[in-house]
Amino acid sequence: MKKIIFLSALLITAISCSKSDNNDDDNGGGDGFNRKALLENWVNNIVKPAFDSFDTKLAKLQNNQKTFVETPTEANLEVLQASLFEAQKVWQHVAVLNFGKAEEINYRGFMNTYPVDFITTANDSQEDDNTVDKNIEASDLPIADIDFTLNKRDNEQGFPTLDYLINGLGNTNTEILSFYTTNTLQQNYKDYLERVINRMVSLTDDMTTYWNTQHEKVIANDGSSETASLDRMANDFINYIEKGFREPKVAIPSGKRNGVKKPESVESFYSPENSKALFLESYKAIKNMYFGTAFTNGNEGEGIDDYLIFLDATAFDADARETKNINDLIKERFSAIDANVSGLNNNFVTQIETDNAEFLETFNVIQQLVVLYKTNALSALDIKVDFKDNDGD
C-alpha cells in the first residue's frame, strides 16, 4: 500500500513538473505536424518580406511627397498618386496580422481607418469634434501640435486621409493641385500631408524593428496555448477576415449592418477606381496566409491547409450524408468568393450605386467562409480563444 501511494505521488510530481503550463520546447518527439515550420513560413516568407516591401513603397511615397511639396506640378501629383496606390496594395499584406507590436500600437487602426472624419457632431463618446478639414485649417491647434497618437484621431490620418489629400480635394488633378499652389491654406495642406506621411513612416519603422528583432522569439513560441504564437496568429487571422476585410471593405459600405448603403465608406473613396484592386490584394493576402504562399515568389509552403490535411480534419455534412475534408470545403468557399468577385465593378462606389444586391452577395459568400473557419476549422485546429480551465463542455 505504502509503495503504491509513494509511486503515485512520485508519478504526480514527475509529470506535473515536467509538464508546465506552456509547452515551450516540445517539438522534440512525436511524428507531429510541425507547428514551428508553419510559424517559420508565415513569419519568414509572408510577414517579413511583406513588411520589407511595404517599407520600400512607403519610402518611395515619402520621397514623392517631398518632391511634390517642393515642386507642386500636375506631373508630380500623378507620380505621388501612383505611389500611394502602390503602397496601399502592399499595405493589404502587412495588415493581416494585428500581432505583437501591431496590436500594441494599434497599427491597423492608425494606418487605415475609413471613412475620413468629416463628422463634427459628437454623437457618442467615441467621436470628437475634430475633422480633417478643421485640422488643416489649424485655427485652434497648429498642425505641428496635433497629437496623432490619440485613438479618436485614427480617422484623421493614415491612407484614407492621404487619399483625400492627394485624390479627393477636387474633381480634377488641376483642381487638386490648386490646393497646393494657389489656396490660401496651401502651406497647411503641405504640412498636413507631410505629418500624415511621417506618422505612417514612424509607425511602420516600429513594425519593421519589431519583426527584425523579435521574429525568432515569435517562432520559438510554438507551443499550444492561448499565448502561443500559432494560436494567437490563427485568432488574428480570423479577426482580420472579419474586422479588416469583411466589415470595412464590404459589410459597412453595402449597408449589410443597418440597411443603409454607405458608398462613402468604400476604401479609397477618393480614388474609387482602385477599390476593387485593393479588395483583391487583401483577399490574396488572406489566401496567402491560408495556403502558406510566400509573398515574394508565390511558392507554397506550410499553411493552415497543410495542418488541416495533416489532422485529417473532416466534417460530416448531414444534408449530403457524407464526410468531407474541411480543407476542401474551405477551398469551395474560396471558389464561391472568386466567382462572385469576378463579376464586381472595379469601382465599388459604382457597384453599390448600380447593383448593391450583388455586393450584398459578396458579403454572403465571405460570411460562409468566416462561419466555416470559425466553427469547423477552429474546432479541428483546437485553437484556443481563451485560456481558462475546461472540461470540454
Binding site: L7, N27, G28, G30, D312, A315, A318, T375, S379, D393
Partner: protein, 452 residues
C-alpha cells in the same frame, strides 16, 4: 428494518478517515483558490465583464465588483478553518456558501468540477469531519475515535455517482463509434514527446474513448471492493495524470485523485495523520478526553436532508429525458449531470436589433458587451443566447429604441459535423421567456446521436 437501524445507529468507522479527508480537501481547496487568484481570473471573469450570464432562478446572485476578492478571502479563510478543524461547522458552511456564490455569479465559467466542489462541500456541512485531529477538539476538550459508518459511506456514494454517471454519459454513438470529440482533441497533440506518435492513430482515438467509458463505469466498483482497491487507485492516478497531460483541466485531476483516498480504510488515514503530525512536530495534548463514539445531533433531520440530496443527485442527470431532440445540441439538461469532455462545439452567433414598426435594424458587435470567453460560450448554448438577447433588448430600450425585436443568425458545429443553422432566424427572442419549457426555436440537429 433492524439492519437499517443498526447501520445508521451503531455501525462505525474510525474518525481518522474523515479527519485526513478534511485536511486533504481543505488543502486542495486552498491551492485551487490561490491558483485562481494568481491567474488573474477574479478580475477577468468576475470584475471586468459588463454583463454576467445567470443560472435560471439565481438571477439575484450579483457580482460584488472588486469586493469579489472579499468572497475569495472568505473562501480562503474557510479553507484554512477546514484544514485546522477550527470551528469546522462554521468554516465548511462559509466555504460552501462563498464558493457556490462565486460559481453562481456567471455560468460562463461553469465546470463540472466546480459543481462537484459545491455539491461535496454542501454534503460535508452535515458530516463530523472534525471528530478527531482538529482544533475543535481543544475547545471542546474531547475527541472521538469513531464516527458512524454512513458519514464516510455517503462521500463514497457521491464519488461513485460522479464516476458512474460520467460513464453512462459516454454510452453514446459519438463517443463510442465516432471517437468524438477525442479524435479532434488528440489529433492536435501530436507534438507531445513520446506519446505524440499515438495521437494521430485512429485506433488510439477509439481505444481512449472505450477505455475512458469502461474506466468511469468500473472504477466505483473497483474502489469499493477491497481486493481490487490498490489496483483501482493506481488506475485512478494514471488516468487523471494522463488527462492532465492532454487537456487543460486545471485542478480537477488532483482533486479526483485525492478524493478517492476516502475508499481506503483507517490504516492509511492514520498514517497520513501521523505523517502530518511528525512533519509539523505536533504534540499530543494531555487533557483531551477521548470518547468512543461521535453522537450526531438532529440525526433524523440530517438523514432526511441527505436522503433528499441523494435523490436529487440520482435523478437530476436524467432530466434531459423530458426534452425531445439531441441533448448535446439543445443542451437542455446538460449541466449538473457529470457530462464531461463529451463535446467539441463551436458557434458563430450574431444578433440583429430590429424596430418592428419602422422595419429598421442594425447588427450588434458582441465585443461591445461580452468578453472573448463569454462570446465563445454564448455562441453555442441556447440559454446564453436567449439571456443575451434580452440583455440587448433591455439595453437598447433604455437608450430610447422602440418596438424592439431581437433576431439571431447562429451557426454551430458539433463533434465534427459541418456547421448548421442553430436558432430559427425568424423568431423574435426578445419575446421568448426562459424557463423549463422546451425551447422550440432551436433548430433540430440534422443528425442523430444514439444512446444516453
Amino acid at each position: 428494518m433492524n439492519l437499517k437501524k443498526s447501520y445508521f445507529k451503531t455501525n462505525k468507522k474510525e474518525a481518522s478517515i474523515l479527519a485526513s479527508f478534511r485536511v486533504l480537501f481543505g488543502v486542495l481547496m486552498l491551492i485551487s483558490l490561490i491558483r485562481f487568484l494568481s491567474m488573474g481570473w477574479v478580475e477577468e471573469f468576475y470584475i471586468t465583464p459588463k454583463f454576467h450570464f445567470k443560472y435560471y432562478g439565481f438571477e439575484w446572485v450579483q457580482s460584488w465588483g472588486v469586493y469579489t476578492y472579499l468572497l475569495f478571502a472568505i473562501a480562503i479563510i474557510a479553507s484554512v478553518g477546514i484544514i485546522l478543524g477550527y470551528r469546522y461547522k462554521l468554516s465548511i458552511i462559509l466555504f460552501f456558501l462563498s464558493f457556490t456564490y462565486i460559481e453562481l455569479i456567471d455560468k460562463t465559467t461553469y465546470l463540472n468540477h466546480y459543481y462537484f466542489v459545491s455539491v461535496l462541500s454542501f454534503l460535508l456541512c452535515f458530516l463530523p469531519l472534525h471528530a478527531t485531529f482538529s482544533m475543535d477538539n481543544y475547545s471542546r476538550k474531547n475527541r472521538c475515535k469513531y464516527v458512524p459508518s454512513w458519514t464516510v459511506d455517503i462521500i463514497k456514494l457521491l464519488l461513485c455517482i460522479v464516476y458512474f454517471y460520467a460513464g453512462l454519459a459516454k454510452l453514446n454513438s459519438d463517443w463510442l463509434f465516432r471517437a468524438m470529440p477525442l479524435k479532434i482533441w488528440l489529433s492536435t497533440k501530436s507534438e507531445l514527446p513520446v506519446l505524440g506518435i499515438l495521437m494521430n492513430q485512429n485506433w488510439f482515438h477509439y481505444a481512449m474513448s472505450w477505455s475512458g467509458m469502461l474506466y468511469d463505469l468500473a472504477i466505483p466498483f473497483l474502489l469499493l471492493i477491497r481486493k481490487t482497491r490498490p489496483f483501482a487507485f493506481v488506475v485512478v492516478v494514471f488516468f487523471h495524470i494522463f488527462t492532465r497531460i492532454l487537456f487543460n483541466i486545471g485542478m480537477f485531476p488532483y482533486i479526483m485523485i485525492v478524493m478517492t483516498l476516502i475508499f481506503f480504510d483507517a490504516t492509511l488515514h492514520n498514517k497520513i495523520i501521523n505523517i502530518i503530525k511528525k512533519t509539523l512536530k505536533l504534540k499530543a495534548v494531555a487533557n483531551i478526553k477521548t470518547n468512543t463514539n461521535y453522537t450526531i445531533k438532529y440525526l433524523k433531520v440530517k438523514l432526511v436532508i441527505i436522503g433528499l440530496f441523494v435523490t436529487v443527485q440520482l435523478l437530476l442527470p436524467f432530466r434531459h429525458l423530458c426534452y425531445p431532440g439531441e441533448l448535446f445540441w439543445h443542451e437542455q439538461g446538460y449541466r449538473f449531470s457529470w457530462r464531461v469532455m463529451l463535446m467539441e462545439k463551436l458557434g458563430d452567433t450574431q444578433f440583429i436589433v430590429k424596430d418592428s414598426v419602422k422595419e429598421s435594424f442594425f447588427y450588434v458587435k458582441n465585443e461591445d458587451f461580452l468578453n472573448s470567453s463569454q462570446i465563445k460560450q454564448m455562441s453555442f448554448q441556447p440559454d446564453f443566447i436567449l439571456e443575451y438577447a434580452h440583455k440587448l433588448g433591455d439595453h437598447f430600450k433604455s437608450q430610447g429604441h422602440q418596438n424592439i425585436q431581437i433576431f439571431v443568425e447562429s451557426y454551430v458545429a458539433l463533434n465534427g459535423r459541418l456547421n448548421q443553422e442553430f436558432i430559427d432566424p425568424e423568431v423574435d427572442l426578445y419575446a421568448e421567456r426562459e424557463g423549463f419549457k422546451n425551447k422550440i426555436w432551436i433548430r433540430p440537429l440534422k443528425d442523430e446521436i444514439k444512446g444516453f
